[in-house]
Subunit: 299 residues, 2 copies
Amino acid sequence: MVQAKTWILKQHFEGFPKDNDFELKQEQLPEPKDGEVLVEAVFLSVDPYMRPFSRVRMQPGDVMIGTQVAKVIQSKNPAVPEGSHVVGRCGWRTHTVSDGTGFIRVLSDWPQDVPLSLALGGIGMPGLTALYGLEEVLAIKPGETLLVNAAAGAVGSVVGQIAKLKGCKVVGSAGSDAKVAYLKELGFDYAFNYKTVPSLEEALKQASPEGYECYFENVGGHFSSVALSQMKQFGRIAVCGGISLYNDKEPQTGPYPHLPMIFKELRMEGFLVGRWEHKNEESLRRLLTWLQEASSSFF
Amino acid sequence: MVQAKTWILKQHFEGFPKDNDFELKQEQLPEPKDGEVLVEAVFLSVDPYMRPFSRVRMQPGDVMIGTQVAKVIQSKNPAVPEGSHVVGRCGWRTHTVSDGTGFIRVLSDWPQDVPLSLALGGIGMPGLTALYGLEEVLAIKPGETLLVNAAAGAVGSVVGQIAKLKGCKVVGSAGSDAKVAYLKELGFDYAFNYKTVPSLEEALKQASPEGYECYFENVGGHFSSVALSQMKQFGRIAVCGGISLYNDKEPQTGPYPHLPMIFKELRMEGFLVGRWEHKNEESLRRLLTWLQEASSSFF
C-alpha cells in the first residue's frame, strides 16, 4: 500500500496565495487495477495559470492542480510500461493511481543529457505556448520587432529565443537586473528592468524607436496600455497571460484600449495552448531539435 | 468669382464640441485653372470619426474635415464633367476649387429614385465600414449571433441589416426607445435601450443566452467590458468605433480585458475603412443591389 502526500486547496485564494490556503494530507492509494498504473512524481511545476484556473476549476478540498513529470513504478497497462516517464495532470501529489488518461509519454527518444524537468518547461507546455503564440497567433516574420514581457519567465524566455531563431529583433522586459542580464545572455537584442526604468514609454521607445510589429503579452495591466501606444500600424498582439492581474482582489482598471486598437488597426488575440494539441508531438520535437542545436543556455 | 462659406475649427475641442469651437468664414475662391473644377456642396455629413481625427489631423484655423456629395458646377477637367456628382473630402464648405484629387465619382448608374445623400451613408463610407467590418474583419458566417451597439447609427444600422441578409441572428443596442423601434423595423432579432435596461449584462444574456460569436464594436468603454464577458469561446470582435470615449477630457478607465481575452480565446481587431479602398467600387455596387432588392427601409 502506498501513502500519497497531497497538497489540498483549503480555501480559494484571496489576493496573493498564502501558506495556509494549502494543507498537506496523506492519502492511502489502492492497488492499481488492470489497466491502471501507479506513478511517482519526479518534478512538479508551479505555473501562473494555476492562480486564475483555481478559481474557476477547483473547489476547496481538491488536490491543487498542476502537471508533473512522473515515473511509472507499477503498471498494469501495457501502453505505459514500468520505468517509463509520463507528463500528467496529477496535481500536487507524490503518487497517483491512474488509468493513464491524459498522460503523455515523454518523447521516446528524449536525450540522456537533457534534464527531464524540461518536459515541464521549454520542451513542455511553456515551450509549446511560446511556439504557438509566435507561429499560430502572431504569424511572426523575419525582420519584425517583437516585444515580450515577463520575458525571463518559462514562456517569455522561450518566446524571445524562438523569435531570434526566426530572424526577429527581440525586446524583453523583466523585473530584476539579474533577469535582464539573463535575457542578454539568451540573445535578446534589448532588455530592461521595468521596475527601475524612469519611464516605461521611454524605455519602449528607446528599445525600438520605430515601434513594434508584434507583442507577446504575458503581463497585462498598465504595461499593456503603454505598449499598445507603441505598436506599429497593423500590429499584432498575442495575449498569453496577464500575470499582473491574477492576484487582484478588485479588478485593476486602466484606459480602454479602443482608440489605439482602431487608429493603429491592431489585432489582439487571446489563446490557450490546448488549441493546437494535435500538433504537440511534432512541436515538442522541433523544440528539442532547437535546444540541441543551440547553446547550452537555450531554454 | 465665388464666395465659399467655410466652417473653421477655431480651437481644439475640449470635452463635447461647442458652437464657439467653430467660426463661419467667407473665402474668395479663384477661377478653376486647367485641370481643375469648381464644386458645390449638396450634402455634408457629420460622422463620429471627426471628433478623434480633429485632434490628430487638424490645426486650429483649418476648415473642419468631412466628406460631402458635391455637384460639379464648372469644369476644366474632362474626367469630372459639369453636372456630375462627386464625393470628396472637401470639409465643411459650400464651394471648393480642386484638381479632383481624392474625388470619387458617384456611381455612374446611380438610380434616380435613390437619394444622393446615401452616398454619404449606406452606399458610402458608413456602408462600406459595415460591410468590411463584417466580411473582412469578422468573416461572419450564417447562423452566428452578432452583437452591435450604436446600432441605430449610420454604420450600426447597416451592420445589422447586412448580417440579417447573411443569415445571422442580430442583437442591437441603442440609446432611445424610438431607435429600438427603428431597429425592430429593420429586422433586428432583438434590440434594447441600454439606457433603460436594469442591467446591461442581463439584457445581453436575455437577448442571447448562449452568448455571441461576433461583436461589432462602435461604442467602447463600459459596454465593451460587459460584452466581452458574454462572448462565446473564440468570439471575434471588430473594433470600429468607441463613441463613448471620444469626448473624454480624461481617458475613461475600466477593467483590463486580458482575462476574458485569454480564457475565451477572443480575437479583437481594430480597423479603418480605407484598408480595403481597392474594393470600394465593387462593394458600393453590392450595397446598392441589396438596397434595391430590399424593402424601402433598408439603409
